[in-house]
Each structure stands twice: as C-alpha cells, then as structure tokens.
Symmetry: C7
Amino acid sequence: MKPLDALGELLDQQVLVRLKNGLEIRGILKAFDIHINLVLDNAEFEDGDIERKFKKLFLRGDMILFVS
Amino acid sequence: MKPLDALGELLDQQVLVRLKNGLEIRGILKAFDIHINLVLDNAEFEDGDIERKFKKLFLRGDMILFVS
Amino acid sequence: MKPLDALGELLDQQVLVRLKNGLEIRGILKAFDIHINLVLDNAEFEDGDIERKFKKLFLRGDMILFVS
Amino acid sequence: MKPLDALGELLDQQVLVRLKNGLEIRGILKAFDIHINLVLDNAEFEDGDIERKFKKLFLRGDMILFVS
Amino acid sequence: MKPLDALGELLDQQVLVRLKNGLEIRGILKAFDIHINLVLDNAEFEDGDIERKFKKLFLRGDMILFVS
Amino acid sequence: MKPLDALGELLDQQVLVRLKNGLEIRGILKAFDIHINLVLDNAEFEDGDIERKFKKLFLRGDMILFVS
Amino acid sequence: MKPLDALGELLDQQVLVRLKNGLEIRGILKAFDIHINLVLDNAEFEDGDIERKFKKLFLRGDMILFVS
C-alpha cells in the first residue's frame, strides 16, 4: 500500500485535516491529488473565535500536516 | 474528480481566497493553472484598516491556503 | 542500502516520527513513499495538554524530521 | 484564459507588485516568465521612509504575492 | 570529486549531523541518498536537557545543514 | 524580451542586488544562470556596522529579491 | 562564464561561506555540485563563543548565501 491509497480510502468520508500552523479543518473529502491538494465539502474550522463554514473548499496541499 | 476540477467549477464565480498569512481576498475567478496561480476580477481585501480594490489581480499560487 | 530501505524495515512496526516543529507522533508504520509521506495506524501525539489518538493518519512528508 | 495571459495583457503598462512581506513596488511591466520573474521599468517603492527609484529592476518571482 | 562522494567516505563511521535549527545528532552513517536523507545507527542528541538515543534513525535531508 | 535578458544587459556593469532579508550587495555582474545564481566582482555590503568587501562573490539565487 | 565556473576556480583554495542565518564558515573548497552542496577541508566557524573545527565538512547547498 502507498500513502495516497490511504487517502483514497477516505473519499466521501468525514476527515480531519491539520495544517502546519495548527489549524484543523473538518469536512467530507471529495478529491485529492499527488500534491495532497484536497477538496472538502461542508468544511468547518475555527478562525479565532469564529466558526467558519464552507460548502466546498479547495485546499492547497503544501500547508497540510496530516489527514485523518 | 480531481481537486483542480473543483476550481474549474468556480470559474466566473465570486470566490474567497485565503492566503497562508491569514489575508482573505474576494473576487471573481477568471483563470487558474496547476500552480494554483489565479486571476481575480474585482478583487478586494482589507489591508490593515484600508479596503483595497483591484479590477484585475494576478495572484501567485504558492501563498494560497484555500479557495472557496 | 539506501535510506528508504530503512523505512521499509520499519513497516508494520511501532515508530516514532519527529516533526520539524518538535512534535512527536507514535504509531504503526503502514506505508511510505519517496516524499516520506507516511501512513500511521493507531497514531498518538500530545497536542499541548491533550492526548490525541487517530486510528489512521496520513502524514505529509515535508514536515518530518526523523523516523525511528 | 490562463493566469499568465493576464500578465501578458499588462505588458508595457503601469503595474503594482505586492511582495509576500507586504512591500509594494510600482513600475512598467516589461517582461515576465513562468516563474513570475518580472522586469519593471521606472520601478519605485518605499523602503522605510526612503523612496527608492530604479530605471530597470529584475524582480525574482518567488517573493511576489500579486501583480495588478 | 563530488560532494556526495565525501558522504560515501563517511559510511560506517561516526558522524556529526548539524540541523538547520542548530540541533546536532551523532551516530554511525549507514546510508544516504541524493536528497541527503540519512540513516544513522546508535543516534544520539540532546533534546533540551534530555539525552535521546535511537538504535536506528531515518533523517530527512532537507533539515540538514552539514555532516562531518 | 524575457526577464533573464534584462540580466544579460547588466553583465559587466555595476549592479545592486537586494536580498530577501533586506541586505543590499553592490558589485559588477560577471555571470548569472537560470536559478539567478550570480557572480559579482568587487562586491560590497554593510554587515551591521562593518563594510565587507570581496573581490569575487558567488551568490546563491534563492535569497535574491531583485537586481538593478 | 556561468556562476558555477566561478566556484570551479575556487577549488583547493581557502573560501568563506556565508549561510542564510549569518553564520560564516571558512575552509578549503574540495568539491561542489549544481545544488551548491560543498565539501570543505579544515572548516572552522564560531558557534556562539565556541570555535568549531572540522577536518572535512559536507555542507548542504540550500542554506548557503554566498561563497567567496
């Protein structure tokens, strides 16, 4: 198994994405590529005290620390 | 679906671009490439207390965190 | 022997992954690639005072300092 | 349209280049390449309290945030 | 002679690896590649006040400053 | 014209190189490549309060902000 | 002349290598490659108040600012 296969198993599931700056974004994984660019549906994260929600989010891969 | 397809669906629509430093730029997505370089029309962002507006903005992809 | 061979010998074993920011994650190494992207099962790390646990973690390689 | 086409439309025109550190340079765009390396004529920027002027400036692309 | 040849001469010898953040790791060099990824046996470093020891360490090359 | 052509026109002339950290180096441009690695003759810069002078300086391109 | 040719002329000579963090290392240049990885013999640098000396040093190129 290769690491990207593990991302493939997470498609259409709720995931937690932690960024390098500690920010954590939750959403449903809809797509990924070899750069770990992700598309999340119904994405949510806490921006300071504000809860941000996005129906669809394109997330650039190079700020991602992990996906679970 | 690949992540860049999600950007394709946003063409000619109002988008929110969040940069890695937290800055958020709004505008109409007119173009993108595999580096996530973007062109935004009628781009706006808050630069400290100043509202900045640009008719057309070429935005380098490597500072982008997400697009929605 | 090449360095990636050493990672191959760690497959299905408990490993310690130290990130560039000092964070240390423990888990069972299930997969890796040439970018040092890793998949860890039963991953655990301390996030400030909180013990975080994940059944499966995809970890991006470019934040990794070492694996042991 | 691709993002670099938008740069092409700005050739020989007055542009504003904002760098990743917030510095803004104004000048006439004379050349660009795929790395977003730029050549500006009659470039000007504020360096602290000092107004700096350069007849011709080669600007490395990887510090650029946007061009407008 | 090319720089990687100098690493080749250090194989199976005790080396000192200094990282970009100033951390210094000592161990026996068992493998390296063109990215300067290293494998060290019997690796040791000081983590604050704690002496850390690892029988085998895979060290990612991009945090390395020098090897001696 | 491409940006590197502008560097070509500066060969054998006195140039000012500004680095990403604000340091400015003056010298005669003797060579450059596509990475913007430069060779400067009679290079000078202020290192805190000290005026540093070098007959020949090989300057790595990835720290360069602009050349004029 | 290309910039790497200037490094070639420095082979077997005493050089000064300044790193991006300001550290300066002196030694005899024995090898280099296109990544500006260097090998220095009899390398010396000041590590805070301590004078460090190494008979042979492999120095990773991406931390180098200049060589003279």
